[in-house]
Amino acid sequence: MIEAKNISKWFDGQQVLHDISARFESGKTNLIIGQSGSGKTVFMKCLIGLLTPEKGEIFYDGRSFRNMDSKQRKDLRTEIGMLFQGSALFDNETVLGNVMFPLKMFSGMTKKEQLDRAHFCISRVGLDKADDKYPSEISGGMQKRVAIARAIALNPRYLFCDEPNSGLDPQTSIRVDNLLSDITHEYGITTIINTHDMNSVLGIGENIVFINKGRCDWTGNDQTIFRSDSQALNDFVFASKLFREVKKYLEKEYDK
């Protein structure tokens, strides 16, 4: 479990995060949602430790990130997997090379064990025949899956995903979501997904944190999101015509 307490962050004197507190449960897909520019990426970067918040604390299963020394932080890093918006695969490595990379650096496994583990992860994301391909030779959806395979190679306790669906078609997007959800439940990982894709919200949103203008405006799940009183959340959720229709339908259902 990851817990953020009263996180505040300033850039050039301007406050972008205002006392955000949130809990992200293990074995669940935790979503951070919000409009572009709402501060959700900054919040996620604070959670990972890429940015240092001026105020507040972050606890990884009760361990305060602020109080960790550099060795403890380095050890914690090996427990974290990250899926970047643009996949962030190493261009000069093949699919296999990318997945093996964290194993080579940190696992202490023999070469054969590394290969077995990498093949297992690649096969887990359904890319058995892409071992020798370079990132530029595979599609965006496949790149995302390779990035997931790399992120889970070291059996992480925490998995962070920054807009995993961006640039993907709806079908591939759902496939990536389902994969993340399956992996989270299978290994009991604390997964935090940063997204503004409503399909993801409804598909895998077991715990949702809505960030609005740098503040935590609402928390809930995919069941309660349609019944929220938050105007900002409603504006966000029902921005598209499709979801306005869904809302009308649901309201009729509730009336019945």
């Binding site: 990972i48 890429l50 932080r73 380095k74 050890d75 914690l76 890093r77 090996t78 974290i80 990250m82 970047f84 918006q85 643009g86 962030a88 695969l89 190493f90 261009d91 964290p102 080579k104 650096m105 940190f106 962070f160």
Partner: protein, 248 residues
């Protein structure tokens, strides 16, 4: 301007303290370094050969045309060609040329890694990204650059020999006698020592510009240009200082 230069220098020094740490894994470092030697050093050999041969030939022609006095011995052409190549061309000018090729390559590669979040990915994994990416480039190129320097000296002299052999401007005997006359071995070492410093400037400055890119493709291009301009200026400055220190 002055404040921003001081700030950049401070950031460069901080960056270097991150770069010069013990690698997380020596085996990975060794393999990366060999890759960099191949990519930055070995791949530069054709460019060094071509440029050196032509410049050597041009220097020989220029010397032959301009040194026309009965008071100056005819072997002076070979001697002057050799001195120019050893003292300045194969170290300083070749380094300026390599700053264009190697410097832009490093800055654009690292800059692209930055904007595509590959550097963030390394940081998240707990890897010292500056050390992991940059140290093999610096060490690899610094180790290999004397090879390029000596090769350039040899090819430059060969270029002059072609002029002697295939034209009637100067005889081969005079040219070969000239390039052997009054030979000072220290000049070769002087050239090699200078290239060590220049190689460090090229790789570290280019890596610095690439590492701190923010934005997109446009900024990567700008970083690449800035890296070449800055390293060229620093090479010229270092050239003056090293010449004063090593030759006086």
């Amino acid at each position: 301007m002055i404040i921003s230069s001081i700030r950049s220098f401070g950031r460069y020094c901080t960056f270097m303290t991150q770069v010069f740490r013990f690698p997380d894994k020596w085996s990975v470092f060794g393999r990366n370094m060999l890759n960099e030697i191949s990519k930055l050093g070995v791949d530069s050999i054709p460019l060094v050969i071509i440029i050196s041969i032509f410049i050597g030939a041009v220097i020989t022609i220029q010397m032959t045309i301009n040194i026309v006095s009965p008071l100056i011995p005819s072997y002076s052409t070979g001697l002057a060609t050799r001195e120019i190549l050893l003292l300045e061309f194969s170290s300083s000018i070749m380094s300026l040329i390599l700053a264009g090729k190697v410097g832009s390559n490093i800055a654009s590669e690292i800059g692209t890694m930055r904007v595509t979040e590959q550097i963030d990915a390394l940081d998240i994994m707990g890897i010292n990204s500056a050390n992991f990416i940059v140290l093999p480039k610096i060490v690899g190129f610094v180790l290999f650059v004397p090879v390029l320097c000596v090769l350039s000296m040899f090819m430059g002299l060969l270029g002059g020999w072609f002029i002697a052999e295939f034209t009637t401007m100067i005889s081969v005997e005079n040219y070969t006698y000239g390039i052997q006359s009054f030979f000072n071995e220290w000049y070769v070492w002087y050239g090699i020592i200078k290239t060590y410093f220049f190689a460090f400037i090229i790789t570290s400055v280019a890596a610095y510009y690439g590492y701190y890119v923010s934005g997109g493709a446009l900024e990567v291009g700008k970083a690449s240009t800035n890296a070449v301009v800055s390293s060229s200026i620093l090479i010229l400055l270092a050239d003056v200082i090293l010449t004063k220190l090593l030759l006086q």
